[in-house]
Symmetry: D4
Subunit: 239 residues, 8 copies
Amino acid sequence: MNWNSPTIHDAARPDFGRQTRKGVPEVIIAERKTVEQSMEIAKRFLEATGRAILSRVPPELEAHLREEFAGQADLEWLPVPRAAVLRHPDALPPDAGGRVGIITAGTSDMPWAEEAALLCREMGCQVHTVYDVGVAGLHRLWGPLQQLLEEVRVDVLVVAAGMDGALPSVISGLVDVPVIGLPTSVGYGMGGKGEAALLSMLQTCAPGMAVVNIDNGIGAGAIAGLIANRMAANRQGGS
Amino acid sequence: MNWNSPTIHDAARPDFGRQTRKGVPEVIIAERKTVEQSMEIAKRFLEATGRAILSRVPPELEAHLREEFAGQADLEWLPVPRAAVLRHPDALPPDAGGRVGIITAGTSDMPWAEEAALLCREMGCQVHTVYDVGVAGLHRLWGPLQQLLEEVRVDVLVVAAGMDGALPSVISGLVDVPVIGLPTSVGYGMGGKGEAALLSMLQTCAPGMAVVNIDNGIGAGAIAGLIANRMAANRQGGS
Amino acid sequence: MNWNSPTIHDAARPDFGRQTRKGVPEVIIAERKTVEQSMEIAKRFLEATGRAILSRVPPELEAHLREEFAGQADLEWLPVPRAAVLRHPDALPPDAGGRVGIITAGTSDMPWAEEAALLCREMGCQVHTVYDVGVAGLHRLWGPLQQLLEEVRVDVLVVAAGMDGALPSVISGLVDVPVIGLPTSVGYGMGGKGEAALLSMLQTCAPGMAVVNIDNGIGAGAIAGLIANRMAANRQGGS
Amino acid sequence: MNWNSPTIHDAARPDFGRQTRKGVPEVIIAERKTVEQSMEIAKRFLEATGRAILSRVPPELEAHLREEFAGQADLEWLPVPRAAVLRHPDALPPDAGGRVGIITAGTSDMPWAEEAALLCREMGCQVHTVYDVGVAGLHRLWGPLQQLLEEVRVDVLVVAAGMDGALPSVISGLVDVPVIGLPTSVGYGMGGKGEAALLSMLQTCAPGMAVVNIDNGIGAGAIAGLIANRMAANRQGGS
Amino acid sequence: MNWNSPTIHDAARPDFGRQTRKGVPEVIIAERKTVEQSMEIAKRFLEATGRAILSRVPPELEAHLREEFAGQADLEWLPVPRAAVLRHPDALPPDAGGRVGIITAGTSDMPWAEEAALLCREMGCQVHTVYDVGVAGLHRLWGPLQQLLEEVRVDVLVVAAGMDGALPSVISGLVDVPVIGLPTSVGYGMGGKGEAALLSMLQTCAPGMAVVNIDNGIGAGAIAGLIANRMAANRQGGS
Amino acid sequence: MNWNSPTIHDAARPDFGRQTRKGVPEVIIAERKTVEQSMEIAKRFLEATGRAILSRVPPELEAHLREEFAGQADLEWLPVPRAAVLRHPDALPPDAGGRVGIITAGTSDMPWAEEAALLCREMGCQVHTVYDVGVAGLHRLWGPLQQLLEEVRVDVLVVAAGMDGALPSVISGLVDVPVIGLPTSVGYGMGGKGEAALLSMLQTCAPGMAVVNIDNGIGAGAIAGLIANRMAANRQGGS
Amino acid sequence: MNWNSPTIHDAARPDFGRQTRKGVPEVIIAERKTVEQSMEIAKRFLEATGRAILSRVPPELEAHLREEFAGQADLEWLPVPRAAVLRHPDALPPDAGGRVGIITAGTSDMPWAEEAALLCREMGCQVHTVYDVGVAGLHRLWGPLQQLLEEVRVDVLVVAAGMDGALPSVISGLVDVPVIGLPTSVGYGMGGKGEAALLSMLQTCAPGMAVVNIDNGIGAGAIAGLIANRMAANRQGGS
Amino acid sequence: MNWNSPTIHDAARPDFGRQTRKGVPEVIIAERKTVEQSMEIAKRFLEATGRAILSRVPPELEAHLREEFAGQADLEWLPVPRAAVLRHPDALPPDAGGRVGIITAGTSDMPWAEEAALLCREMGCQVHTVYDVGVAGLHRLWGPLQQLLEEVRVDVLVVAAGMDGALPSVISGLVDVPVIGLPTSVGYGMGGKGEAALLSMLQTCAPGMAVVNIDNGIGAGAIAGLIANRMAANRQGGS
């Protein structure tokens, strides 16, 4: 509690125990924070947990991350979703064993699919991706989908789509694994900021699908990783 | 122009010439008219053009139509869309030659698909329908679709869907005939009055589709019939 | 494909194979069908699969179900969600082993929670329910929640809430099982048809939750049952 | 399927067969792609089909197109819609014979009308345009409209309008060719991003019109070209 | 101010002076009041001003009005808008001299057009009506419109339209009198409760129009009557 | 927690301690409950706290309340908001001393104003009401407002308004007591279910006002009573 | 009609006769046009009518206007609405005699109020403005309002307000001249782009007001000027 | 009243008496004003009241404030909300005695919480803040909340939250002081500009809360300060 205007130290209360409590690490969403705030919180995570995950990193922050953590931590940079993982060498993600498949309708859906993939990998899942197989050319879908189901034997699928949002419904009508629909803000005109895709997924006539909010790749990864890892734990006799 | 409060005769100006001018007959949408108004307008159409088409007929009006036109005109009654055609025996629709295919995602979409079918038939088209082949079980679609394209060789497709509205996009990605998307008010929760279906169709990533408003079966039939009949006229060397 | 106006037999193409293909049985949502249509489809499911599940059954249909199937099948009637299960005695749901917890914020959320519970039970899950523990009196929540997590050891939670939709976020911040948010149409004024609850769940700041559409108890049950049963199969060495 | 973060080659699956399968070429919508992605996909189209069509080209991409394809392909540049066609000299669009009329309410609607025109021409249609004849001065409409109908004898009309969106309804009430309504994002205040225009067109009381989404000139061109070319094929005895 | 729960006498404060202060009489909108409340307020207006105007009168109230005021006041009943005027024989509306033209796009727009006409007449205007001349058949418009402008020489036009709401814009582009757009709740699907009509009118590209809310016939009549009567007063040298 | 479908006893967890914990009694909102559920919960409240408050009571429930509690408890019935208070004679609300003023713009806003008044009285406040003083005739406002401020010396004002929702802003610009805006669902056309009133209050340019949701009279009463009673406690040296 | 991509000369069809036909001059809204397009159209208006009016002029265009028309025409520049009038010295607006009052709630509403004032002056009206008298401090309103009504004796009032949009309703409840409500995009949060103000005005409970769209100062000026000038003509015996 | 285009002096009518009349000082919201306008109004407030409060100060204005008032007034600068207070040394805020607690769900909600804190301090309240204790980790809430209630004994709480907006409901279910919900524009996807948070708060199932608009920190501070100071006055025997 502060009697005066707070400094950053007082204002942020990072949840270092989330990974333990929830099985999902906290992600620093940098787009609404100042460079200063993000750097400070990243530093505190790195100290407390050996890792800091940042998403939606603006270019200025990227530069600061590269400079200021050089020598202290390894930086993994993902250009498509503009995400970063800072890691002490001895802080590798556990091999939790979950198997997650991630599919996109178009190439424009990739930034959020990659966010989901990132989080799942950081939760210790194996992640398998198939991109650009939307309903305007469904013939491109069958092969890779069968591979995911029969060879990889995924525990859960994340399906990202913008525009008409039809792909998750089409897939959910075909498979017997749970599907997480990830609507993206790809589109134009009415409903084009992802609303059409989200509504279409919410209205799906195919059972076995639930959705996260538009562009919420992190959220899709969190629940997909949680499901997959619990399945893995059950496979390994853990629950 | 009326200096006093108008009677029905003054208030309605039926457009008897629409069929000639537009190639599309006028339909009396009964749901917002009193029984009195609908009966009066139907009578005037019957006199002027030998036919009256009524849609969304409430039960009271149905009874009146059956009683009061008995002996004067044949009544064709369509129970699913609650539509009626009154016709003098010598007023058959011309055989205009257009070939229209109408597909629905579910059985609940039938009332509006039947409205579209009715109007196309009254415009002299051949109409072929395939119902309940939505994306929750796409395996039901391929056979009938191929028949429509290769045997019937339809000029245009009307595809009706509520809920996720995904079927028209899926079909439009597969065929080379123009597709008219007909969203229906079948659904629940957010976007469930047909908005999700309409928006998903407006956002389609498959080219070659245009849409009409939610539940506007008459409108879908009008443009589909117009397209099909003009193609038929071209086949017959008429344009 | 039909050249004339279809009868019901032609119009509906029930998906008898869905349980096998998807692991989720098809549910006949009766509220948009005529009594005639629902009876016909129920009869065909009963014949093909030994069971028919109906939701949102209007009173007239309830009467018909009770009368016409008497002697042929057992009727299980759930008054709160107005749902019915018709079953041949030898057609018991398999004991699939999934463990599903269902929680509601208020008593008014019960119809949809019960829909979810029904579907999960028909998929062979064990279902455990806790009702009326919303955020206006959070002290009522802790005990039952702990029981679900530590004694029952649920595989997944469905959390239903209308109005502010806050309960799923609160729970999702506390537990390490996947949470399916089920917004309900309980509320008043702006956002009161479930939109506020849905949006709040879509915006959750707690990771590990995905949502279904407003009042979509069947959909929540489908994905929860799918997740739980796959976990059970993994427990039993099946995947 | 990719086990690691994908390169662009893996991520995009261009649909080279679309022109053959659908009768509509694929258009590279550049506004949501990086310059790198657009250049790569354009190159692959040019190789596979002898042509690449790009719309909504940002200035940086325009420069790259001009430089990097110089000598390899002819560049046609349309400044109003900022669209480009790259073409091998031996890859001329076929003369498919469809006749398309395109009308706008105002000069501000031109970018999307030109997108539609571009796609129709690339599909081998003859395109005839009439601009700035909206309902604020309807006297400007009659002459050009009559010319389109009686001299050019168009197969289909695309009518673009923003603001009140009234022009397509007015035209559709007068003509007997199918009308594709193209709402544009021209307007101000409530409904001013094209929603008023789209809704007004969806609510048209004139039969024989269907619509595409706001600013979807490419989509309007696709269905108009498809309709016109099939009419031409019928004229030539082809279907 | 009331210390206890109020009776109706205390609760309503009718504005008897509005006609004098504003030039517009108060109208008792009955649809949200109990029969008791409406009767009480009507009685008080009749006593205070010699007249009571009621709109949207439910059937029960109509019966009460007919019975209980018999002998005390003349009842003028308008069936289309379900409106009533109670009047002492010596309380005729003044001949204020304003000239108002009222036009509708369809017959379904009549209830609200008649509300506007009623209020204008009660304000002492001459009212001239033209119904069912919408844009689906514009040829029906020219004759009556010219009569209104050149023979009647109206001071102001009220133009009512539902669905596409295009007629007021078309008319406003042609005439040099002020136009009041009156959107009506006639329509279907998206925007079909009058929103499309209202938005289209708000976006009009023709100058010289302002609008009232959907179905607000009373409001359209009030401002039209006010404008017309002030013009009349100016004609008579009164302002 | 219930292993089977719950009875009502299991399903509802009334919050008997809310008055003590929160200073606000729980209200049984009957409109979404069955008569059975409401009766059961009312009985349990009466037993536990000596009082039960019910709002939005449907006619069937009213009859049951009158019959079944006769002799056991006093029934206070408020016809305008259809609310009821059941009370043991020895269970009078404490005289908490808060002073609440409640103002409405029109008579149609009374049901929700009366809900607020009811709750405040049950919290032990003195309640003073002024009805039908909206901005269409502001001269009716000054006198009663001054009385509330200077004679009654209210601690807080609840101002209810539908339609334009302007009255709370006008009042909030004039007074120095906190104002709770209570938007009501009185209106027509766009924004007419209270959205216009709510949005206008949320956008108020007069400081010192907060709002509750549309028609939430109970909510307005709760916060107003809480504020007023804490002020009274401070007056009496209690905090 | 153009067979090829149009030049600007072909694309724009300025309506030089609008002033004569409608009594309202055409305004070149520059914000959606290129500098080139605006300059060309301005030049053509100047030649045809001796005057060009431009609104929402971007800085680049301002510079061009100042340079290129220097010596040929007088430039009147209004900094607040960024509007310009180019005029040949012999092309003065007629003294049409209408009297228009323009009032704003805040200083932020001035750009659109000034747009309205500009158009009225160009139509030959006398314009009188009163700014920053909103409902947060109503005491600032009475004096200036009385002056407008009794000294200036305005024919019509334009009242601009953003945020709560309450001022036009308050004024319309007090005066007997027609009021044009002009909602502005001043606000924040929900409804803050002018929607709250527009909806509140559409829902006004004070009779005698109509509205234009958000920020449509030109539209408000057009109808106000039209009304005022017709009143002036009537005063002068002209109609 | 101005006959010509107004200068800034004429256009703004600052409400210097608001603090006296309302108990709330006027705040200059700079984001919609030019630097010139803001400087002028600030200067006039400083002269008239000894203080000027500015919020949402753009960088250019900040520089001007620092330069031009140097030596004349003390400048207090709050970097997080970009707010400023200019003050003559002898113009300290009175110690009004109100006690306000301000809580945020996340660090991103701080700018608006700080706005509220600023205004309360300028009204003479004691302000106590607790940041970043949202529902994703409720364990962080209990300690500080108890301190606010039992040690500080706050009169009122402001609770700011974006995203799911759940925190104010959770707190309001636990405390017996009035809660002002302050939704913030922190979020993503559907409902992510604060609409989800606002709607969830409007739908709260916990009694004793009212809300202000999204990001309206000033408005939340105004009503909270008003409530707290009146409580303090009552404590001191002042009312």
